[in-house]
């Protein structure tokens, strides 16, 4: 369907969601998210948290897309697809429609030029899929690490792409807006996605890259309890060396990140992250962390760790287990002499 107005129609729905992805994207844009969308010619057909249309008016918008009367460029889902009980989707009915979000997504997805999973829930199932997965929650095209999910492994949107997965819990507002805008510009193709459907401009980095605790990591100078300044990998559960994302190359809420905030990366961009237990404790085998950098021979890692631990400067060693800097950088004694 051709577009005469040059606008990009975007429909945002929420499934088994906490709404946190929306809360995150509302931080986007110097003059607000709505202004930013307008600047890029994006017409938000409907969004459950921000649109005027409610009740019947909202159902009319959805129906017009379903009937093909309104072309749909981007279909975004935030939250997992709750398929239960017994594949009925009744754990997550779209209010006022008598139909489940599961059913709505099956019907709407083939109408969209692109389908985007916003956040790890919509991408892989996420937190609602943890434990006994009470609602049979899955992602749009993945069930944890297995492809499939609600739409099936073979699904392709009208422009031939699989579901684009903006992983993260919640994702950085930039991850969402940059993906949306790249799609608006038709500037993102299947080769720009990694094996889990994540845009490579995000997923080609590790959360570890740019970590402000890097010097502690280099020397394996580790924090032992919460709020200490040292590396969080050895004892406190940090998975940043295995989790994708340019988390520490961006600023979150004006300057933060998980590791800057003093707690472990829990790999929220990874399918199945919710299945872990003891998030703030490092799983170890014979005293060695189980989760080591994936592309490094374990023996080398252990040897290097032993070497770097033995070479750790006193400053780094002492600061690692303190919550304030106790030994500043520089020479042991001041240069200023009377």
């Amino acid at each position: 369907m051709s577009r005469s107005d040059g606008m990009t129609n975007v429909l945002w729905l929420q499934g088994a969601s906490c709404g946190g992805c929306t809360m995150s994207i509302l931080e986007s844009g110097a003059s607000g998210w709505f202004d930013e969308l307008r600047q890029f010619g994006i017409n938000l057909l409907w969004h459950p948290s921000v649109s005027e249309e409610t009740g019947e008016e909202a159902v009319e918008v959805l129906q017009s897309v379903l009937d093909g009367d309104v072309p749909l460029d981007l279909l975004l889902l935030e939250g997992s697809v709750a398929r239960g009980p017994n594949d009925s989707g009744r754990f997550n009915m779209l209010a006022g429609t008598g139909r489940s979000v599961y059913r709505w997504m099956l019907d709407l997805a083939p109408r969209a030029d692109y389908v985007v999973a916003v956040g790890s829930c919509a991408a892989y199932g996420g937190v609602p899929a943890a434990g006994i997965n009470p609602t049979d929650a899955v992602g749009l095209q993945f069930e944890g690490t297995e492809s499939g999910g609600a739409l099936g492994a073979g699904f392709r949107s009208r422009l031939g792409l699989p579901v684009i997965n903006i992983a993260g819990c919640a994702p950085h507002p930039g991850w969402m807006m940059e993906t949306i805008l790249a799609l608006t510009a038709k500037d993102l193709s299947a080769t720009d996605l990694d094996g889990y459907g994540r845009p490579k401009f995000i997923a080609n980095h590790l959360a570890h890259h740019g970590c402000s605790r890097n010097e502690f990591y280099e020397f394996k100078a580790s924090a032992e309890t919460m709020s200490e300044r040292g590396c969080l990998m050895e004892h406190l559960g940090c998975k940043a060396t295995q989790a994708v994302g340019d988390c520490n190359q961006r600023s979150w809420n004006g300057g933060g990140s998980c590791t800057k905030g003093g707690y472990a990366c829990i790999a929220c961009t990874s399918p199945g992250f919710e299945g872990a237990q003891n998030f703030l404790e490092t799983a170890k085998l014979a005293g060695i962390p189980v989760g080591l950098p994936t592309d490094m021979p374990k023996a080398w890692f252990v040897a290097l760790a032993a070497l770097s631990k033995s070479a750790t400067p006193r400053r780094v060693r002492l600061n690692a287990t303190a919550d304030h800097v106790v030994v500043p950088p520089g020479r042991p004694t001041g240069k200023r002499t009377p």
Binding site: G19, E27, E52, T54, G55, A82, A95, S257, N278
Partner: protein, 479 residues
């Protein structure tokens, strides 16, 4: 009698359906449905207790810190430890930032756009209101969203990120604040105060908080700019004080804990219109109209198991009651129990209603903004922010906090180092509860009865105002 269904009821956090029986143009009966169930209580069972710090915040993207803090308080009780005083202060600052951001989001993004609807096009005030508050197009969002984002930079300093942080621990917070960061926190608080004084109130916070009666508020409003006055004028023209009256009882668990107690105290605004101690042991949950199997009524002993085919049910939300009564929670309850003079005057005269709920939220914003500055000043930068965690003996533990939308409780039973049971009663579980086994409706269900919908049926804008005046968080409601 006609039955109308309104859904998807949007511009609330999460999913909501409302069904009304209308007789002679008035609502005779209302049923409120939480149409989403995710099963967090089931997900938490059998896990190590500290996992609640990673999973509970993910119940809710808009009050994630509240969920974190409720879990951390329950765990703190379980460990029988005190939090570091700095950790309590930092928690208060971050929690206040979230609650204030939520109040802003509610006012500007969820609630006010309804006055820009076409239904009001014939009114002389409509053009200015539409220009200012129309959903996604009004000029107000260009002020409010950047102010909200700037306020949430508090999280970048204290909590790493928002939503969903692991910074809130039983022993305090995970990041010691240094001098430069304290100055940045002051700078954020100052920017927030400036936004409130320029855009929201068009007056100083001190002057706003000096208003202590309805008459003073009327005088203060006349001729004043700012979005609060804009709302107050609409509230008068549209008689919003006559809309959506709550059932009467109000509760607060107490908010912003510190060494000298709470900023907003715990209590019950009871049947004698006096502040009374809160009988916490009298909190129960009824599942007669929820798609849930019967369990203990006591949240310390109950479990959550869905029963999707239960014939008498119409919501995934259980019905919490205090001494058998439905209770309204939120900023209006918090400020009434705290004895805030203006709110006491308004509630004393007209109870809770659409106008008073919104006024209470904005008055609370002013109080929070001042408190954030005081807590930031009180940080002792050379002292610890987090005390170590300890082992947890078996037992039942409770974490009670006030989220933006009201009283939030986590009831956690620990056995052999695992979570045996976990029960959550969230603010909107109280406000949007379904009927109980005595067929008594929840606060919203009662507030909707008698509303004049005229010929508009499901498009009646009065219903929109009433429902959104509670600022529901539906993702928390059934969790």
């Amino acid at each position: 009698m006609t039955r109308i269904t309104i859904g998807p009821f949007n511009r609330v956090e999460g999913d909501l359906e409302v069904r009304l029986d209308v007789e002679g143009g008035r609502v005779a009966r209302a049923e409120v449905t939480a149409p989403l169930y995710r099963g967090f209580e089931q997900i938490l069972e059998g896990r190590p207790p500290l996992d609640a710090l990673a999973l509970a915040p993910r119940i809710c993207g808009i009050c994630s810190v509240s969920q974190s803090v409720a879990a951390a308080v329950a765990l703190r009780h379980a460990m029988a430890i005190d939090a570091a005083p700095n950790g309590l202060l930092a928690t208060n600052i971050a929690h206040a930032a979230e609650n204030a951001a939520d109040h802003l989001t509610h006012f500007y993004i969820f609630f006010m756009p309804d006055f820009a609807r076409e239904a009001y096009a014939a009114h002389p005030w409509h053009e200015a209101t539409r220009e200012r508050f129309a959903a996604t197009r009004g000029s107000a969002s260009r002020d409010a969203l950047p102010a909200r984002a700037r306020l949430l930079e508090t999280m970048g300093i204290i909590a790493g990120k928002w939503p969903h942080s692991l910074a809130f621990q039983p022993g305090g917070t995970t990041r010691a604040i240094d001098l430069g960061e304290r100055v940045r926190l002051f700078s954020i608080a100052a920017a927030f105060r400036s936004f409130l004084e320029r855009i929201v109130f068009a007056d100083t916070l001190d002057n706003v908080l000096a208003i202590s009666t309805a008459e003073e508020l009327d005088r203060w409003r006349d001729g004043r700019g700012g979005d609060f006055s804009h709302f107050l004028r609409l509230a008068d023209v549209l008689s919003l004080s006559e809309l959506g009256k709550g059932p009467g009882l109000l509760m607060s668990y107490g908010a912003y804990h510190g060494a000298e107690g709470e900023l907003f105290p715990r209590g019950l605004f009871g049947p004698r219109a006096m502040i009374e101690p809160l009988p916490l042991a009298q909190i129960t949950e009824d599942v007669s109209h929820a798609w849930m199997r019967d369990s203990s009524a006591d949240p310390a002993h109950s479990t959550t198991v869905p029963d999707p085919d239960k014939a008498s049910a119409y919501s995934w939300c259980k019905a919490p009651r205090l001494s058998g009564q439905p209770i309204e929670v939120g900023a209006i309850a918090r400020q009434t129990v705290a004895g805030q003079p203006l709110i006491n005057d308004l509630v004393g005269a007209g109870g809770t209603n659409v106008r008073n709920r919104v006024i209470a939220r904005l008055i609370e914003l002013a109080r929070i903004a001042l408190a954030m500055e005081q807590w930031t000043r009180a940080l002792k930068l050379s002292e610890p922010f987090c005390n170590p965690s300890q082992a947890m003996p078996d037992g039942p533990y409770v974490g009670l906090v006030e989220a933006a939308r009201g009283s939030l409780g986590h009831w956690m039973a620990v056995r052999d180092g695992k979570i045996e049971r976990y029960q959550i009663i969230a603010p909107t579980t109280w406000n949007f509860s379904p009927r109980d086994s005595f067929d008594i409706g929840g606060p919203l269900e009662q507030a909707l009865v008698g509303t004049d919908v005229g010929d508009a049926g499901p498009r009646a804008v009065a219903i929109q105002h009433i429902v959104r005046s509670f600022d529901p968080c539906m993702v928390c409601t059934a969790h």
